[in-house]
Structures are given as structure tokens and as C-alpha cells.
Subunit: 450 residues, 2 copies
């Protein structure tokens, strides 16, 4: 691997220069901005590697999947990435414009630099470095790059179930991963699922003077009361039957959890909170909760007058966006069924529910060859004897649709770090992590194809 590693050391400026235009190109799946241009940029980059590329359409009006194959060999590696990004709001909190990638203090800032363009481009750089220094790839690669991950991969599940042949592989590398506080790569073996709904209510034909509050129902109150029945201040999710479907961690899971360092105070300081929810204070308790507990999150709420000064109005409408992170065996359809039943049972049949997206949780076998090859690569690149292994990522992605529903083992690693700020202002990636992630892909491919 020596020539490969030397190439990485010598081409760092180029790796940054090639990342920047990808981060400068908006590709916001929530609004559709720039998605097609972005897909075309990815396609060109793949063609430059000598790959075969098909632009697949996962559903009506969906941005294309850049479906790429390259190399040959007895084993097939599936790589999953996405080229879409989250919206930039609240834009006023960015220290530099989100679509002008900017380097400060050894970090590159911009929307999508970490989630997921830095990982996609870093992996492309690794493949090219391999080709330039090692020649033929040691395995066949299927690269699946979609454009609606940040929208919950709306069309992907039905597409993947219809076309399992496109995903047939011996293992799958997931879109990204992170290093720990010490800068050492960690692995993950899957992801939580999610389901995202908009709850809304109309209580009146139109807004009214607030003096009518003695008699006229208030949409904001209706929504607040309904939401309050979903989760208690101690963070217990109150939806009837919800926890019946939560599978506790296995013995193997518990052993893996002990490999994961978690400094509660550092985490509290980093997020700028007073304390963690539920009064969690030990690292093991925190990481167990983080990985094996589902969530119910108000991602947004809006009703009535929120401008300056006072306006004594009684709002006729209110709406909230509510996202759930799902552990096995909480499936999206099950959760929305439970939620609807819960609302109706608790007197909130006036609350309308619109499902905006959902993904199944997916959890992979820790004993697969794929995972062993990844652990070996971490040992080789990061010099870590026993890397941390997350049984699942706390975040979500179409792991079930792309890999675990087909029985394909899955592992994720990458260049994230605790201050990465994905989905938030000042998203960033440390350049040193970016380069390490490039080395890691090369080493992993060597192990996998061997």
C-alpha cells in the first residue's frame, strides 16, 4: 500500500480543490434546488474513473440515482452515498455562506461538506489513487449514489424492493462514519429508521380576536395538548404500545457498546446544554440510550403571530413537524398507525397527520468478514487495536432498502467528528479526517478484495 499512501500525502491540495466545486453546487432535496446539476457533476466524476454509469429514476419527479459500476473480481462491494444536502436555515447563523466552501483552522465549512459530499468525493479520490498507484481494483464495485437521502429517501425503498439485482453484493460500505475525540475511526453496522410527519389542526374558519378565547377553540392549544400526550418531560414516549416494539440490546450489542468512548461532559459542552436529557450521567448509559432508544422530536412548530410586539390574536391553524428515530422492531408504518390510534384515543381526532417520509431501521451482523476487514483497516490506518463499533448509527438512512433487507452485511466509517454540525449551521469537516478517510477506503478495499 506504500505507493497508494504516498500518493495521498502528495495530493492533499488537489483533494481539497476537487471537493470545493461539489460543495459550492447547491443540491437541496427539500426544495429541489440544484439536484440535476449535482447529479451530472457526480456522473462526470465517475466517468473520469472509467466507470459505467446509469442514471436511474427511483420514482416520479425523483432526482436520479447515479448508479455506477467499476472494476472486476470475485467479490462485489456495494458503496452507498448521496449527493443531496439539507436546507441551510437558519442561514443567519452561518459564519460563512453555506455554498461557498471556506477553510478556517484546518476545517472546511459549507453545507454538505460532511453530509455527504466530503465522503463521496474522498472515496472517489481513493479509487483514483488506487488506479494510479496499484492498478486494477481488487474487487467489483457497485456505487449507489442517490439524491433524496435528506428527504428520507422517499422513493428508494419501493425502487430497491423492485430491483434487488442492482444491489447484489458481498458487503456494503455506508455513506459515512465518524472518528472519536482522539481522531480514531469508529465503525457502525447499521442505522436507526425514521418516520417524519406533519401534524396540523384547524379550529376556526379564520383567526379571531383573542377576547373570544373564552368560547372559540384555539388551534395552537389543540396542537400543544396533542403533542404533550406524545412525550413526557422525562423524555418517555407516551404513544400507546410504542415500547412494546423496542428490542433491547443483545449480549453482543452490549459488548460492542463498551468499545465506544463517550465523555458525557465533553458532549454536554459541545452541544451547549445544561445537562443531558433524562439526567443521563454515565458514558455507557448515554451511548446505550443514544443507540438503542427511539426518539420523538418536534423538529418545528408554528402557529399565530410571532412578529415583533404584541398581537392579541387567537390562531385558527397550527402545525408541527415531528420526527421519530426508530430502533428494531419499530417500523415506519407501525409507528404512524400507533400515532394515529393514540391521537384518536386521547381525543385528538381533529389533528391531521401527513406522513412526509419513513425508513426502516437496519442492523448488520458484527461477525461478518466485511466487518472484520473494516476493523483490520482501522488497525492499519489509525493504529487502533480495538476500534469502537456502533451496533447502529443514531442517525438514519436507507440501510434496510439498500442492504440489510437483501441480507447484505453493512459497515460504515468515514471522516465525521463530534463537532461536524451536520444538518445545522457551520457544517464542517476537519481536513485531517478527510485525508484519513481516503486512506481508510484504500486499505479497506485492499483487505476486502484480497
Amino acid at each position: 500500500m506504500q505507493p497508494f499512501l504516498e500518493y495521498i500525502n502528495q495530493h492533499q491540495d488537489q483533494f481539497i480543490d476537487e471537493l470545493k466545486p461539489f460543495c459550492a453546487q447547491p443540491s437541496v432535496s427539500a426544495t429541489g434546488e440544484g439536484l440535476l446539476d449535482m447529479a451530472e457533476m457526480v456522473r462526470q466524476k465517475m466517468l473520469d474513473l472509467g466507470a459505467e454509469v446509469q442514471m436511474l429514476t427511483p420514482g416520479p419527479d425523483a432526482p436520479p440515482i447515479v448508479y455506477t459500476t467499476l472494476g472486476s473480481g470475485s467479490k462485489t462491494l456495494l458503496i452507498y452515498n448521496h449527493y443531496d444536502v439539507q436546507p441551510v436555515d437558519p442561514i443567519e447563523l452561518w459564519d460563512s455562506p453555506p455554498f461557498e466552501p471556506t477553510i478556517r483552522d484546518g476545517k472546511i465549512y459549507g453545507r454538505g461538506v460532511a453530509d455527504n459530499k466530503g465522503h463521496l468525493i474522498g472515496r472517489i479520490q481513493a479509487i483514483r489513487a488506487w488506479q494510479e498507484t496499484m492498478g486494477e481494483l481488487p474487487c467489483r464495485i457497485i456505487w449507489f449514489i442517490e439524491g433524496e437521502e435528506e428527504m428520507g429517501s422517499t422513493n428508494l425503498e419501493s425502487f430497491c424492493l423492485k430491483h434487488p439485482e442492482l444491489m447484489q453484493a458481498d458487503g456494503c460500505i455506508w455513506e459515512m462514519g465518524s472518528v472519536n475525540q482522539a481522531g480514531e475511526a469508529m465503525l457502525h453496522l447499521g442505522a436507526k429508521g425514521m418516520v417524519y410527519v406533519e401534524l396540523s389542526v384547524r379550529s376556526l374558519a379564520g383567526d379571531q380576536h383573542s377576547s373570544r378565547a373564552t368560547l372559540a377553540p384555539n388551534a395552537a392549544w389543540r396542537l400543544i395538548w396533542a403533542l404533550n400526550t406524545l412525550k413526557a418531560p422525562d423524555e418517555t414516549i407516551l404513544i400507546d404500545g410504542f415500547y412494546d416494539h423496542v428490542v433491547p440490546p443483545s449480549e453482543t450489542d452490549l459488548a460492542l457498546l463498551k468499545t465506544i468512548p463517550f465523555d458525557v461532559q465533553a458532549y454536554v459542552d459541545q452541544i451547549g446544554a445544561d445537562k443531558l436529557v433524562g439526567g443521563v450521567s454515565s458514558g455507557l448509559e448515554a451511548i446505550t440510550r443514544h443507540i438503542f432508544q427511539p426518539t420523538c422530536t418536534v423538529c418545528g412548530i408554528e402557529s399565530g403571530y410571532t412578529g415583533p410586539g404584541l398581537k392579541t390574536v387567537l390562531p385558527a391553524t397550527a402545525r408541527a413537524k415531528v420526527g421519530f428515530r426508530l430502533v428494531p422492531d419499530l417500523e415506519p408504518e407501525l409507528v404512524t398507525d400507533l400515532l394515529r390510534q393514540h391521537l384518536d384515543k386521547h381525543g385528538f381526532s381533529d389533528i391531521h397527520m401527513e406522513i412526509l417520509g419513513g425508513e426502516h431501521p437496519g442492523k448488520s451482523d458484527p461477525d461478518s468478514d466485511l466487518v472484520k476487514n473494516a476493523i483490520k483497516a482501522v488497525q492499519q490506518v489509525y493504529g487502533v487495536e480495538t476500534p469502537a463499533v456502533y451496533p447502529m448509527m443514531p442517525a438514519s438512512g436507507p440501510v434496510w432498502a439498500v442492504a440489510t433487507s437483501h441480507g447484505t452485511p453493512l459497515v460504515g466509517f468515514g471522516a465525521g467528528y463530534p463537532g461536524i454540525q451536520i444538518h445545522a449551521p457551520n457544517e464542517n469537516l476537519r481536513l485531517s479526517d478527510y485525508f484519513q478517510a481516503i486512506r481508510m477506503i484504500g486499505q479497506f478495499v485492499a483487505n476486502f478484495g484480497n
Copy 2:
């Protein structure tokens, strides 16, 4: 009064023409837009009546009070009006631009036409009609016209307490009033108080990816849980000690309540609700509740992402605007003290409270000469033997600061009607009510000065 009444009949077009420019001039106290221009227009109109006018400054940066005196006589009548209006949001729901007064189907539409410019201009027309037809006014008039009523008359209370000599009078006519479904004037003898706060919370240094919801506190949830402790879904206000300060209606109050027609089904239809809050179904129950119960209203709430599509974000901040309508003896300072204590006691000391405005409730003696003269005028103008008398308006105003704290009896009447839409899109006044209100002022002044 015949010449006066004939003058009203002959000058209806002029009364409309003179109202329009006042409604076309924005004067939004929440933003400050147009207040000074509006005050000057009012001053000119008063000078045209031969009045003496002083522009008084109730507080720093406050819009002026147009303090007007005219006429002479042994008795002094205080008239209270205001020239400011509510903001126009949601502007997209207006059928014609809010500051382009428009006549459709015998109604004039525009922000402020009812609250309170139609009443102010109508009264000016009545005084001029008197002067033109009857000569000298039969009493002295003090006309107190402020510019921050829609902001809770922020500076008025301390100003009035400092300058009681400016308000010395034998009785006070309040800014407005309404007719019933049959178009017959009703009276009111005071107003609820109010207090308006912004509750806000920050749980994190910045927004986070929603996968962190297992550990990172969510500002939206904190605010929802805190608000939920304030009022139950059955509309009972839960603030500890709150109802201890609610004075039940007296025997006289209960007798007056029976004069007030209230058609529950018509009200439900008019506001476009399924039913009234608390399952109220009888008219007497509804009106008793409407006048003698306090309210706690979420006027607005905002947190996180509320744009299109899904964004899986965990919000760091949340805020709500909460307004209370107060009956005796709930005073603003008492309620904010109780609210703060309640939040702290229930584990919500992280919720920040900013007081944006407050007004004491004020309730006047039903047996005063002032009220008798008003009842007589209703009999004369509207031909109603026993007019409905509201012991208090369900809405608020500085009745305590201007009148009741000085022992001045107070009565309100005017041109409102059930479809008036004040503080909401498509605020309007029926022209027939506008002309009746002009007649009513003339007749009342005749009775009062006699």
C-alpha cells in the same frame, strides 16, 4: 334633535368620504408605521371643530396622545378613543388591501375601520353635526385619543396615574361598542384587563441533528411541556392560585347578563368552529363565561424548521406569545408573578418570561346617571326598551387607567357587530351601524348635558 337627525341623513356620503383617508393611513403601533402622521390628521380634524388640542407624550418614544377639549358646561364628558391599529398579518387572507378602504355590500373594509377609526371619525362627525344644527355643545368634552392601545397602552397607566387632573370628568364614553344580531345597540360598563408575555427557551448553543434527540434537550419540547402546564384541554387554567383571584358575578351582574342575547349556534357558525370550548351549549352559560371568565391564550408559537418538506433538526430555541384576559381581581402584576412561580414550581425555570404589556380590568357602576343617559339614548335612537348591558367587555382597554381608577363611571357603545373581524383579516363596519352610532352620540350628549 330633529335638525341634528336630518343633518345625519343628509350627510352620509360625506361621513364615508371623511372616514376613508383615516383608514388609508397606516398607524400600526406594533411596528410604529404611520403613527405620527395619523396623530397629526386627528389633531387637524379636532382643530376644525374649534377644539383646543395638546399633543401629550405619555412615555419615551411613545406616540402622542391627542388631548382635546371643547365646549363648556357644568358637566364634563370624557371620551376615549385611539388612532392606532393592529398589524395586518396574515395579509394574504384579506379580500382587499387593508389600507385601501373598500365598500362591498353595505360594509366598509380595511384595517382599523372598526377598531377604532370608524368610531373616532363617527364621533367627530356627530360633534360637527351638533355644532351645525344645535349650536353650542351642552357640556364640556375632554377627548383623550391615544396611539398605543393595540400594544396594551404601554405607557398610559403610569401617565394617567401621574396626571389625574387631565381625566377629571363626570363620566366617560369608551372607544367603541357593538350592536346585537338585530342591529340594536348594546352597552358595556368596562373591560377585562390583560397581560401579554413572551415565553422563550434556549436548550442548546445551536440547532442539532435530530439523531441527537436521545441526549440533547429540545427547546420546542421544553416550551410545549411548559405551556401544557398552564391550561388543560378542558380549558381550565392550571396556574397555581389563579382562580383564587377571580370574583364571581354579583346579583346585579347576573341580572344584566340576562339582558344579553347570545345565540350559540349563530356564534359557532360565525367563527367556523365545530363547537364552543368546554362544550358550552346554552346562551346564558356562554355569555357568563365570555364576560366573567379569564383566558390564557397562545397567540403565537414558533420553533425549528417549518418550511416545505422534511428537515430532521432538533431546535435550540423556541418562543411563544401568551396573552391573558383578566377579570377582577386578577391584576397584571399578580398574574405574571403567579405565572413565574408556577413555571418555577413545575420545573420550568429555564423558560424565560418577558412582559410585553398589561392592563388592569375595570368595571363600572350600572346605576350611575351616565349609564341611565346611555340607556335612554338607545331607547331613543334604536327604539329598544331594554338594551343589553355588558357588565364588562370581553376585550380589554385602559379603562382602569383612564376612568375607573379615578372613580369615573364609564359606558361604551358603538358601531361594532358580530361579523366585525377586528384584529383579523377583513375587518369591517356596516355603514348602517356607522350612521346609527353617529346619531347615538348626539342623542347621548343631549341627555348627558341636560
